[in-house]
């Protein structure tokens, strides 16, 4: 049992550290530290930068254009990114649909879509949730009816992040209304310029337009855009569970960014000598260390091909809870500075990043399976309850 890095890993760490030091745009740092998402064009620029360096897909195998890194290298990469206040890569193409395409897609689909994910020439959005299918996703009702060489898709998707900038959407649709509800679901790839697709923005409490409703009105989708087999779409999502370890690790290592920001804010407010403040900050830092320990064990197990059971889901639960607590603490330390959210008219601009990060953090315990759903899943699959 040890935490030693071998010489090759140390050399890799130095290389990655130098890259981030040189290439992380200063303009990103304050918002990244606050736990905010970047603007879409900034995500694209960051992805193109990594792609040019050959690091477009740190978690993908080499044969599909990924780096083929070991879990230890991935851990080093994300830790160094966190230290440098570098952003995460936008995940919906890279971590959600990309791996499904290279696992279940046909040769033509792989050739057509994967390179454009890596180069960030395509932006993928996720058409999963619906107005009546949130936590109970399998009850989704968007219909896809086969008509010759096409499917005709009718329905409504909800919480479709960045549909306003996406040119493609991966979409769960019901191809068979009979039988077990999970069994009639298929996975279709749509182009956002297909006739019949319309978008209505949803502004979230952080006053940002991240997400949308997407209306699908007799959208004709070529049958060639079906992933795998009809009726098997629900099962394809499960490949993501095995990959989730890497994604949760990447995001969890970012808690250090928010802790750094919160500590700096407390120092600036001369509150570090206040025993109550020092105690609360210590508690948050201690809980982050425990969570990082869980991530490190998970990555080490991935490196030796061992199953980590439900730990990725546990990490998601704890990460989101801690992100909320750390950003709340940060905003509290700001005192009345937290009241300056934005200008009035032509007034002086403000940089309300900690407040926006705090507000944004509320969604992290809801998206990707609400924490209550995560607990249901852990109880059923891992605890046998």
């Amino acid at each position: 049992m040890d935490l030693d890095l071998d010489p090759a890993d140390r050399a890799f760490r130095d290389e990655v550290r130098a890259f981030f030091a040189e290439n992380t745009p200063d303009a990103f740092k304050a918002r990244v530290r606050a736990g905010m998402r970047l603007e879409p064009h900034e995500f694209v620029a960051w992805q193109k930068l990594l792609y040019a360096r050959g690091w477009g897909a740190p978690s993908w195998p080499k044969e599909h254009g990924g780096t083929g890194w070991t879990p230890t290298q991935l851990y080093i990469f994300e830790t160094e990114a966190s230290l440098a206040d570098a952003p995460v890569q936008y995940h919906q193409g890279l971590e959600l649909i990309g791996p499904i395409i290279f696992t279940f897609g046909n040769a033509e689909q792989k050739a057509r879509y994967l390179p454009r994910i890596l180069s960030s020439d395509d932006w993928w959005c996720q058409g999963y949730s619906e107005p009546n299918a949130g936590s109970d996703l399998a009850s989704l009702s968007t219909r896809a009816v086969r008509d010759g060489d096409h499917y005709v898709v009718d329905g409504q998707k909800m919480w479709t992040s960045y549909a306003q900038v996406a040119n493609r959407m991966f979409c769960l649709v019901r191809t068979d209304p009979e039988g077990r509800k999970q069994a009639g679901i298929s996975l279709l790839l749509l182009d956002m310029d297909m006739p019949g697709i319309s978008i209505r923005p949803i502004i979230t409490m952080d006053e940002i337009h991240h997400t949308n409703e997407v209306f699908l009105d007799k959208v004709r989708v070529p049958a060639a855009n079906l992933i795998g087999e009809e009726g098997q779409g629900w099962g394809y999502g499960k490949v993501l569970l095995d990959r989730e370890r890497g994604v949760t690790a990447a995001t969890t290592m970012r808690l250090r960014q928010q802790l750094r920001g919160a500590r700096a804010a407390a120092a600036e407010a001369r509150m570090l000598d206040d025993p109550v403040t020092a105690d609360r900050l210590a508690q948050l830092e201690i809980e982050v260390i425990a969570l990082e320990g869980m991530v490190m064990r998970t990555m080490a197990e991935a490196a030796s091909g061992k199953d980590s059971g439900p730990r990725a889901s546990m990490i998601k639960v704890r990460w989101s809870e801690l992100l909320q607590e750390v950003t709340e603490f940060w905003v509290e330390t700001l005192g009345y500075d937290a009241a300056a959210f934005g200008p009035i008219g032509n007034g002086a601009p403000t940089e309300p990043w900690p407040m926006m990060g705090m507000l944004y953090s509320r969604v992290t315990s809801i998206y990707g399976g609400a924490n209550e759903i995560q607990r249901n899943i852990i109880a059923r699959r891992a605890l046998g309850l």
Binding site: T72, A282, E287, I289, R297, N376, A382
Partner: protein, 377 residues
């Protein structure tokens, strides 16, 4: 980055679990404590014969020169089986402190500790110092042949069973200064030493000490005069990580028994584990176990490393394992209902052991304070 046990450590783990099965069945444990028995010198001898007490002693003294991870493997079993033997004394304090003994008894005493015939513990706290290891006001005055010790010690883990005490005393300085503290070995029967033994809620037998002009020879010195704090700190850090592993063993056992109870206990015509409120509680207990195990690994690796943040890691681990283990033990009682509150199940005894582990060498609140202080430094 590697969290695997070696093959030798796996064998050791098996041997601990087998020993626990053979000698630490819970009903036997309960009968033993019910008779007012604690430390069993016969079992202690068997542990010594299995090599557990030689594991981390230096090789030049006949030990195996093992690492804190070896101790961790045993301590998990100690916690799981609620063992009553003074394992921190035998596997941490004796092999860490005795090699620094000045006098010629050194070799024989190390051999006796490894053979299980001498128990050596550390009197780590004073009445006015709470958990501060440097708060030493016990005085050591020089005499013609050695030193004379006078003062009070509020706690020595397993002190009721100890044959020898390592006593920190001040040869210079004052208050809570780290410099000026010297460690001395004091025999239990030394004239002027009063040992007040007391049973803790977990059936471990600790002691407080009064030293009223206890005379020791120069050979009773452990380490250098005025320089004892670093050695005591290291011994206590090793003891802390050992007890973290003990906590992990105890909390995981309490969690597993609770999970089993949720699956078998029926109320309202169904297993109570079918209720979502209890399922989510069980998941939170499982997460707490994962956090505690992860923290224990980090601290166990850190304690023998040169990482400048090692003390922060140890303090963080002591705090978080205390919090998570008590959460698990308290929920284990709650989810067992009335029976969880009874003396008949192991559940309540796990809670009591974990309360005492949290207390040991400073509780969660104390270590959070130490962590904050280290971060500010």
């Amino acid at each position: 980055m590697n969290f695997e046990l070696t093959d030798e450590q796996r064998l050791l783990q098996d041997s601990v679990l087998r020993f626990a099965r053979d000698h630490y069945d819970f009903s036997a444990w309960r009968a033993r404590t019910g008779r007012g028995e604690g430390f069993d010198r016969g079992l202690w001898k068997q542990m010594a014969d299995l090599g557990w007490l030689s594991l981390t002693a230096p090789e030049e003294d006949g030990g195996l020169g093992g690492l804190p991870v070896d101790t961790m493997v045993i301590m998990e079993g100690v916690g799981r089986a609620l063992m009553l033997e003074p394992f921190v004394a035998g596997a941490v304090f004796a092999p860490t402190l005795l090699p620094h003994l000045a006098g010629p008894e050194r070799t024989d005493l190390i051999a006796a500790a490894m053979a299980g015939t001498a128990v050596v513990t550390l009197a780590d706290a004073e009445p006015d110092g709470r958990f501060d290891l440097a708060a030493v006001s016990t005085r050591a005055e020089r005499t013609a042949t050695g030193f004379r010790l006078t003062g009070e010690k509020s706690h020595a883990l397993d002190g009721a069973e100890a044959d020898w005490f390592v006593v920190p005393a001040r040869t210079s300085g004052e208050g809570a200064e780290e410099a000026g503290i010297t460690l001395f070995l004091v025999a239990r029967d030394a004239p002027g030493l009063i040992v007040r033994s007391v049973r803790a809620m977990d059936h471990r037998r600790n002691a407080s000490l009064s030293l009223d002009g206890v005379e020791v020879s120069a050979g009773a010195l452990i380490g250098e005069v005025d320089q004892g704090f670093g050695l005591a700190r290291h011994a206590v850090d090793l003891a802390i990580v050992a007890r973290l592993a003990e906590a992990v063993g105890a909390m995981e056992a309490a969690y597993e028994q609770t999970l089993q109870h949720l699956k078998t206990r029926k109320q309202f015509g169904q297993a109570i584990g079918s209720f979502q409120a209890l399922q989510h509680r069980a998941v939170d207990m499982a997460i707490a176990c994962e956090e505690a195990r992860s923290m224990t690994y980090l601290a166990t690796i850190a304690v023998s490393s040169s990482d400048p943040a090692r003390r922060q890691t140890i303090a963080a681990a002591k705090a978080r394992v205390g919090q998570t283990s008590l959460y698990v033990a308290r929920q284990a009682v709650q989810l067992h209902g009335g029976m969880g509150f009874s003396d008949e199940l192991a559940i309540g005894h796990y809670l009591k052991r974990l309360v005492m582990i949290d207390l040991a060498f400073g509780n969660a609140a104390e270590h959070r304070r130490q962590f904050a202080a280290a971060r500010a430094a």
